[in-house]
Amino acid sequence: MIPLSRIGEGVLMALDAMRANKMRSALTVLGVIIGVATVMTMASIVQGVRSQIFNAIEVAGPTTFYVMRYFSQTPLNPDNLPYEVRIRPVLRESDAEAIRQVPEIQYAGMWIQVFARLEYQGTQTQMITVWAADDHYMELQGGTLLRGRFFTRSELTGEQVMVLEEQTAEHLFGRLDPMERTVRVNGVPFRIIGIYLKPDNIFEPPGQETAGIIPYRAAKYNLRYDETNTLWISVKGRPEISVAKAQDLVTVALRRERKLRPGVPNTFDLITQDQILDIMGSLTSAFFGVMVALSSVALLVGGIGVMAIMMVSVTDRTREIGLRKALGATRREILLQFLVEAATLTLMGGLLGILVGLGLGEVLKRVLNLESSVPLWSAALATVVSVGIGLAFGLYPANKAAAMDPIEALRHE
């Protein structure tokens, strides 16, 4: 058995050898650094996205669900809808009204996600999201009204008024008071009646940040939107009934409203938060998978670099190996020395990669406005993987060193 203290000594020796060849060592482990940094960055983003989704759903409450014309994991091309979608009617206010008639349902409302640019006297935003909904918006999505008010009953009939999100307000108006001023949403004028603060935890992928809320009918009458992918009825059952029960009731109500005979399939889809979670989950894992594949390539390249440098190092140190054998080192001890050296090299690379990854993750989180911490498991995994790469790719050179004949090694020039 080789005692643990010997490994510690091997690490010290390896660090010493690395100090002697800083540049060479750094170049060697570049691949490992890149690979590990990629995984770390991705892990932190994926983690951030996941926790945001989770929080968003937490805010909306797990009892909220949605009725759509057609449920598809990826958006459908509105100009070329498949037959099974086209035969379904577009959601109408009468559908929402029918759902609202069910006593166990607390809320049902038409919602549209409108993608738009906002403009005020020459200042423009990026493409962002304006929600067309009603005065119950904040009950479902969270947030705080900072100033002004939400829509009145009469404004819901289609008044061009808007509750503006705080950051967007600042972007458009700077130090001006936005209240009662008019912004243009894709060119259509809307009067600001309130300022609202988004909840912290809302999940908003880039380009889908909420910029404001307008009455549903104001969008319906004045703005273009996609009736399949971005129009739905948000539904919330009373707290005392289960989501499944609420969904059953909604299904029955809508079938009756649409006069569907028994046996005829539904002409609408219901989506629960769980399904949204699943989609987001599979999207982020797919993304993560791609990144793992890419970083594996970097790690492989890094591993080959380590192997090449270790071969050079073994040849360079032939006499040292001969000496160590003469002084009583066994094959196994020489093998261990070079394995530890390779693993230390890649571990250093891995640790640097973790630092770089954490830094990049931090930057990207700022840019994407995510809130998350790097998952501990990914740091642990990166450490283990980088040590593993050192061991795997160090094995061949270490074995070459261990197999050397001491007499010939000592004679080496």
Binding site: L323, L327, T330, I407
Partner: protein, 233 residues
């Protein structure tokens, strides 16, 4: 226990060089007792280094027997040989073979690393060995901060640190000038006086004159084996 340290009987070692077979040792007999001081001489190619490698357990014979302290080394495997080298043999090389980036002390401690000695004891014994060769004040110097004679003394300290039964030196003064050679010979003499068994290979008669016994090889056999006359004062 007898004080016979080395017993070599009818030892042969041949090397295959393609189709040719080179006979480096051709039936060599040799016995060395505790606290002997032996010089091995002979012309180039006579088998001195080959014999040293055998005695030092770096190599195994093609035939014949080698007993070291009553153990038959010629039948041992790689790991057992490594252990014997570590415990019983102290090597001194012509080219010193110090680790360039390690301090004198660290170099001297190296055999103890493979003996599994604790760090604290390694340090104590390393310091003691360096003191024995007169380098107590150079412990933390690196080889490039030391003179040739000092480097060879570090190497001798390294050879001594495991308290080996034999000190083996192959041309220990081959890379040193004559004044420095004398310095090293004085170290060997002192060690011999303290009871150390010393075997050294040399082709210089002046160096061999320091030993108590001179074995001359020719063509892989012992040609002569004589005791040195004590030098006239």
């Amino acid at each position: 226990m007898s004080d016979l340290v080395i017993s070599v009987r009818d030892l042969t070692r041949s090397y295959e060089m393609g189709a040719e077979v080179v006979q480096a040792l051709r039936g060599l007999d040799l016995e060395i007792r505790r606290n002997e001081y032996v010089a091995i001489m002979g012309p180039s190619g006579s088998g001195k280094s080959t014999l040293m490698n055998m005695i030092g357990c770096l190599d195994t014979p093609s035939s014949g027997e080698y007993w070291l302290n009553g153990q038959e080394v010629s039948r041992m495997g790689d790991d057992a040989l490594a252990r014997v080298r570590n415990k019983e043999i102290g090597f001194v090389f012509q080219t010193f073979n110090l680790l360039p980036r390690a301090t004198a002390l660290h170099n001297v401690e190296l055999p103890l690393v493979y003996a599994g000695t604790t760090a604290r004891e390694r340090r104590a014994r390393g310091e003691e060995a360096l003191a024995r060769v007169g380098l107590a004040d150079r412990m933390h110097h690196r080889p490039n901060e030391l003179s040739g004679g000092q480097r060879q003394r570090v190497a001798i300290a390294r050879a001594l640190v495991n308290r080996p039964s034999i000190l083996l030196a192959d041309e220990p003064t081959g890379n040193l000038d004559s004044a420095t050679s004398d310095e090293i010979m004085r170290v060997f003499e002192a060690l011999h006086a303290e009871g150390q068994t010393v075997i050294m290979v040399t082709h210089e008669a002046e160096i061999a004159a320091h030993a108590k016994r001179v074995v001359v090889l020719r063509d892989g056999r012992v040609e002569s084996d004589v005791l040195n006359q004590p030098k006239a004062a």
